[in-house]
């Protein structure tokens, strides 16, 4: 039979005694529930920032690029800095979903959905800049090779800026379908769980009528694998092409063959930093700490360490080559003494400290597993990687070959406002996503539950590795009669809960008295005047448990909310499968909240 063996040395990826249903409930909760106050506060702030940025963009386009701080020497500054920064952030999403899939990394499953969302939203922000930094953005469609009335005047395919158009649009569209295809089973889960007809309709459309047939799953897995195989070279090529904007130029400091791999490493570095920033907040806000665990954070920190190390080596190589080349112009460029001591020394040292020095702390296991410190480091890396792009673009341009054209750059409020606007737009999209999309790929997490779930790892540790996860059905007919095929209580998982229904019937007289006592405390249910609540809304209560509660006479949240330790103990006596569960999940507390929400 299929083995779920996993080396005991591996830490669990799903914490808590989770069943398949629990995963659906936990992932569905933010979508099926209502937004809280802090969500609205953050959303409002983001929206204001976005609208402000929109104003700046409209002002730029209608007045002219002159409202930015650019000058004749420095024709690219914040616009392209932000463009490269956003594209770089977008890369971690594809890396997590594609590269880690090719390497069969199970830990990707809890983080890939949000990382991909981050990719899409970051690339949308990046895509704004190539348009708005144009002098005549209304002629932007001229970059496309469309037959036209100018004798069919085409575009020049020698330019990396045109390659950018192809790269970014391919990247965005392929990431989008990759993400969406993965979402179909999760949308289907929401569609089948929601009770609101409006949501049912919406998620019915979004899920494309996904039914989960065995053939669909087979194709689904193949498509995911092939898309991962396509997205991996894509993610490498896209940032390579972005780096060509600089590397194919003749500008000292830009003209460098190390750019393609170094930009890609930097992109993954900054992208993972952004994933950390977002997920550390999200796991808390959306109550997903059992799925996005400290282990996930540590793994991501290790990727940050690796790519940060690559970036560091690249800096050192650039520095060395600048000196080794013997070209005097290189002395004024990026990472040379001119950068470290020149007028932009502060930007240079901000980069060194944020990208090279601070991430080194992650070598310490204690700090790597410290959530607060990870958050701080991730934030610092985001700043550092912005400075990296700023330094490459602005420092190199500010001191080029002719000393007569040396100059400085100062951003205007429009430069800054536009950047803030894109940050606002990004968070508007991300916050809306977090409320409406299943933020964890629940169908994928369910596939690793038995191999990497905490409960199953513990059971394997106790019972040995060759222990099956279900009772062997001997064959038909089972040698000892049908009952031989019915799972026992001490077996690994779920089915027992249903099959033992008979044994657990509330029958003994002593219990009956205890129950009557309990009902008198909780209040009895009168179907004539009261309506029963959907008790399965309480996390930890499934349809079977709900049935049992009904047997006892508990039908409403109101009754559950009055439960105390004494009632829990009594409940444990009657429902023997999950001792201590009601107390651990705090049914009363949950019911109290649900009751008030009604």
């Amino acid at each position: 039979m299929s083995s779920h063996y996993e080396a005991p040395i591996r830490e669990p990826l799903v914490i808590g005694e989770k069943s398949y249903h629990d995963i659906s409930v936990d992932v569905g909760a933010p979508v099926l529930g209502k937004a809280n106050k802090s969500w609205w506060i953050v959303f409002t702030i983001s929206l204001i920032a976005f609208l402000w940025g929109l104003g700046c963009i409209i002002y730029t386009v209608s007045t002219g690029i002159g409202v930015w701080g650019l000058n004749k020497t420095i024709g690219w500054a914040w616009d392209i800095t932000n463009f490269v920064w956003w594209v770089g952030i977008g890369h971690a999403g594809t890396l997590i979903s594609a590269v880690l899939l090719l390497f069969r990394q199970k830990w990707r499953m809890a983080v890939n959905r949000s990382a991909e969302a981050m990719t899409i939203f970051a690339v949308v922000q990046a895509g704004l800049f190539p348009i708005i930094h144009m002098g005549r953005p209304w002629l932007a469609y001229w970059v496309l090779p469309i037959p036209n009335q100018f004798g069919s005047l085409w575009v020049n395919f020698n330019s990396p800026l045109l390659w950018d158009v192809f790269a970014i649009s391919t990247y965005l569209s392929v990431s989008l379908v990759f993400w969406w295809t993965g979402l179909l089973p999760d949308f289907a889960m929401i569609r089948d769980r929601t009770t609101s007809p409006f949501q049912k309709k919406i998620y019915g459309i979004l899920s494309f009528g996904w039914s989960g047939r065995v053939k669909d799953w087979q194709r689904f897995e193949e498509v995911s694998l092939v898309l991962a195989g396509l997205a991996t070279p894509l993610v490498l090529s896209v940032h390579t092409i972005v780096s060509f904007d600089f590397a194919t130029s003749v500008v000292p400091g830009w003209h460098s063959t190390i750019y393609p791999p170094y930009f890609v490493a930097g992109a993954i570095f900054s992208g993972f930093a952004m994933v950390q920033t977002l997920l550390i907040v999200m796991r808390k806000v959306s109550n997903l700490e059992n799925y996005i665990t400290v282990l996930h954070i540590e793994y991501m920190n290790k990727v940050i360490l690796l790519t940060g190390g690559i970036v560091t080596v690249a800096y050192l190589i650039e520095y060395f080559i600048g000196w080794y080349s013997g070209v005097p112009y290189e002395n004024y460029t990026y990472l040379s003494f001119g950068a470290a001591t020149g007028p932009y020394w502060w930007a240079f040292w901000a980069l060194i400290i944020c990208n090279l020095i601070v991430p080194l702390t992650l070598w310490v296991k204690k700090l790597r597993r410290n959530i607060l410190w990870t958050f701080i480091v991730a934030f610092i890396i985001n700043i550092g990687m912005w400075f990296e792009r700023f330094d490459i673009i602005v420092i190199d341009l500010s001191k080029d070959r002719l000393t007569s054209s040396w100059t400085m750059f100062e951003p205007t409020f429009v430069d800054i406002g536009t950047f803030i606007g894109t940050i606002g737009f990004f968070f508007v999209l991300f916050l809306l996503y977090a409320r409406t999309f299943p933020v964890i790929a629940q169908a994928e997490v369910k596939t690793i539950l038995k191999s990497s779930g905490e409960q199953f790892k513990r059971l394997r540790a106790e019972h040995g590795d060759d222990h099956h996860h279900h009772v062997e059905v001997e064959s038909y007919p089972a040698a000892e009669g049908p009952s031989a095929n019915i799972p026992k209580n001490d077996q690994f998982n779920g089915p027992s809960e249903e099959f033992n229904a008979e044994e657990n019937r509330v029958d003994s007289e002593a219990r009956k008295a205890g129950l009557d006592n309990m009902l008198s405390r909780l209040g009895t249910f009168d179907p004539a005047v009261q309506t029963q609540d959907d008790l399965t809304k309480i996390s930890g209560v499934g349809p079977i448990l709900e049935q049992k509660l009904h047997e006892i006479g508990i039908f409403t949240f109101d009754q559950v909310s009055r439960m105390t330790k004494r009632d829990y103990d009594l409940l444990d006596e009657i429902i023997t499968e999950f001792p201590g569960r009601a107390e651990r999940d705090d049914w009363a507390g949950q019911a109290e909240i649900l009751k008030n929400k009604k």
Binding site: S24, V155, F157, V174, W210, Q218, F220, V223, P477, F499
Partner: protein, 178 residues
């Protein structure tokens, strides 16, 4: 089309996989299996042929590459062989390094998108398609096996399914959707 079938619902993927194997061994015809997540090995156990979607993707990639080469050659070499910054435009190969990024991107673009469209069409999924899973719990935590019951003794079949560990067994009659 069977007008009579049996839906056996399981609570566990391993149990389902075993049941599928036993059902096949008994030569009952499994019409469909609905699961909330991909169960490893279920497709071969249920006798589903391997998918050829990766092959289509390869072909689409070749198509994308040819479109790119044709486009670049026509625009840059044949239609307007201009001198742009001293780049050689005499033949395709003389300026090919500058064409590689676009050739690569278009290959990926065609291979990815056309494969996904193929997947959607072959699996018959699109935005306003109605879901066809017979039980809403099959997207959550239940596993449903639909068996053709037309030519079988229902009692024996039911008993057999019960022995495989099915949690719920339902007889579906004349439920045809056309």
């Amino acid at each position: 089309m069977a007008s009579k079938k049996i839906h056996a619902i399981y609570t566990d993927d391993d149990l389902l996989l075993q049941a599928v194997k036993q059902t096949r061994a008994e030569h009952y015809h499994i019409e469909e299996v609905f699961t909330p997540f991909p169960v490893h090995g279920l497709d071969s156990a249920a006798g589903v042929a391997p998918t050829r979607i990766a092959i289509t993707s390869f072909l689409y990639g070749l198509l994308g590459l040819s479109v790119a080469v044709t486009m670049l050659n026509f625009i840059m070499i044949e239609d307007w062989p201009q001198n742009i910054g001293g780049k050689p435009s005499f033949a395709f190969y003389t300026n090919m390094p500058a064409f590689i990024p676009v050739m690569f991107e278009m290959t990926v673009f065609f291979a990815a998108h056309l494969m996904v469209v193929t997947f959607y069409m072959r699996s018959k999924i699109w935005p306003f398609k109605k879901a066809e899973n017979p039980d809403p719990r099959t997207t959550d935590d239940r596993f449903l096996m639909a068996i053709d019951a037309e030519n079988h003794d229902i009692d024996i079949l039911t008993k057999f399914l019960y022995d495989t560990g099915a949690e719920e067994i339902r007889l579906i009659e004349n439920e045809q959707e056309h």
